[in-house]
Subunit: 336 residues, 2 copies
DNA sequence: GAAGAGGATGTAACTGTTTACATACTCCCG
DNA sequence: CGGGAGTATGTAAACAGTTACATCCTCTTC
């Protein structure tokens, strides 16, 4: 592997000049520049990025932490991030935490140890204290998920309000016994969505019933399993509100296997509006998050933190959501 | 930011000993180790990973290049990669090329410039000569896609055979005019799948007809658009073979919008067996790729290349596939 | 009690860049 | 023609670790 020293020898100029040529700095005579470039070409020299980054302590790379891979929910968000990042000359790397704190810790170590310039975290599976400590010293933005009352910059929608609005919509359709299948409430995100559901019920004077509230792994299988348990429990209900489209998809699958019509017998709604939600039959009523916007805002905030121009660690950016009404909710037919 | 020198001063031992403690090497007296650890704790010292990697010229990180983000096809593959990687103490970073050679080039530069130890490339959007040159000097494995006749290690299924088998299956159902919607044939991958389709037809003495062969962007929208064009063209056909599940999903959407029954009037099949294929109605007949296996083999090959134990650059690892028959193909009803 | 082995620790070179500062040169103007 | 400004280039010191090799102990063994 050729180094800058080889270029120095071949071109007959100093390291400083070679470095200047590499970085297109002015104040290099065209003839000198040409000589250096010729040497670089001849040696097939590539500056060692590790050495550069080490020297400057800047990588121009940011890390995006996802809770799971291949979730199409994130694709639009990542596009938004990439857009802003590449305009600023940054590149993004994505890593998977699998919601495993150990894994997440490794990647945060990478940040602390300067292997990248910042983190946008969609996984947020580490304790609040730890996150606050790191975010106090390093550029970190948490998005979609969040840590309640923390000094970590955050980009989300108002999950509580969205979930409440969805539940209200179900109530307005005439449903009274509405089951709930949601993600683990240890996560503030899922806690908010559950609160939204509870609030909507309470506002109508309908007490939330723990026997029809289920916690599940936030994927298709989780939704399927929870719905099956719900059906086996013998509880009566005419609708299911979920905290995620994948849960809704799984729940619908379970209902259909049991020959229950959606939405005629049971209405179901999701949350997130992932790509397949408009393709399934029935198509899914859900909450659409402004995914591109989330990505762009998160990256912009991160760039502010990296440059040091933005020091506001307690900023909570809340973006608008949209209730998307499709076939899976339908009207309540009081004919059961 | 504390450095190793600060630890040296506080603990009163030498850099070498501190380094030994950091790396858990033996031959450090327990008392010394404790002293050093105490200093590390007190200073909240984190070794600068950039400096470590720079010094050792090893990052213990590999890069996975995907053609697009949020494609659930890759999630199982990535799990397979991660499994093997973490067992070997490696971490993976994922980057998106968007099939853009410029982007891909940036990440290959990252490899050449030692920012990571190897690349597994699912995007393969760079010219063969370039890839061969880089793969000759650096650990690179191309997977799922490939470059024909090249000296770049490769992990795939036999796409040609799989596509041929799928088409034969359609022929066996009684279909005779089978349309084809496939990805851009500039990619060897899609070229193979198209050849498989052609071969199957020719073996039965049925000439492939260019008027019912379409090229499309390999996503839902692409499938939808191509199918719509096909319908508008007025050509008659009773089945559509596609080169990807997303294309099939889009095509089915178009057919259903035009009130054509799938599979009763038109049979459709996909390729890849992505997660949603078994959830749609009708469920999708498709080719299942052994995704976990692909990931594991690719990572194992890469580890071999990184360690230098494996120098076989022309190895083409071909894994088995499986024809998954579901509802979307159905039996041909000659009642049109 | 000397020799040798082996464990614990230290010293200093080295990794490949960037960059502050120094130097040399050219040009222009009073 | 001296000196100041400005441009082009060079020198050498960082950056923060790792590691080969040297050194110094402490045992063990004959």
């Amino acid at each position: 592997m050729a180094t800058i020293q080889d270029v120095v020898k071949l071109s007959g100029v100093s390291v400083a000049t070679v470095s200047r040529v590499i970085h297109n700095s002015p104040n290099v005579l065209p003839a000198t520049r040409e000589k250096v470039l010729a040497a670089i070409r001849e040696l097939d020299y590539h500056p060692n990025r590790l050495a550069q980054q080490f020297r400057t302590q800047r990588t121009k790379c940011v890390l995006v932490l996802l809770p799971r891979l291949g979730d199409s929910f994130y694709s639009e968000i990542l596009k938004g991030i990439e857009e802003v990042a590449s305009a600023a000359g940054y590149h993004i790397f994505i890593a998977n935490t699998g919601n495993n704190p150990e894994m997440a810790k490794f990647y945060y170590e990478a940040l602390i140890q300067k292997q990248n310039d910042g983190i946008i975290d969609f996984s947020a599976c580490l304790p609040r204290e730890y996150m606050e400590e790191i975010a106090g010293q390093n550029p970190v933005v948490v998005a979609c998920r969040y840590l309640s009352n923390s000094n970590v910059p955050n980009v989300t929608i108002d999950n509580l309000a969205a979930s409440r609005e969805m539940t209200e919509y179900m109530l307005n359709l005439g449903h009274r016994r509405i089951a709930y299948i949601g993600g683990n409430t240890e996560l503030a995100l899922y806690r908010s969505r559950l609160y939204g559901y509870r609030q909507a019920l309470e506002e109508r004077g309908i007490p939330a019933e723990e026997t029809i509230i289920y916690t599940a792994d936030p994927d298709i299988q989780g939704g399927y399993d929870a719905a099956m348990q719900l059906l086996r429990s013998g509880e009566k209900f005419t609708a299911i509100v979920t905290s995620g489209d994948t849960l809704a998809v799984g729940a619908i699958k379970a209902l259909q296997e049991r020959k229950l019509q959606v939405p005629e017998e049971i209405a179901v709604c999701g949350f997130d509006d992932i790509e397949i939600s408009s393709l399934l039959s029935p198509t899914l009523t859900t909450i659409r998050q402004p995914r591109g916007l989330i990505g762009r805002h998160a990256m912009e905030k991160l760039l502010g933190l990296i440059s040091g121009k933005d020091e506001n660690l307690s900023e909570q950016i809340v973006l608008p959501y949209e209730l998307v009404i499709r076939a899976s909710s339908g009207k309540f037919r009081n004919n059961k």
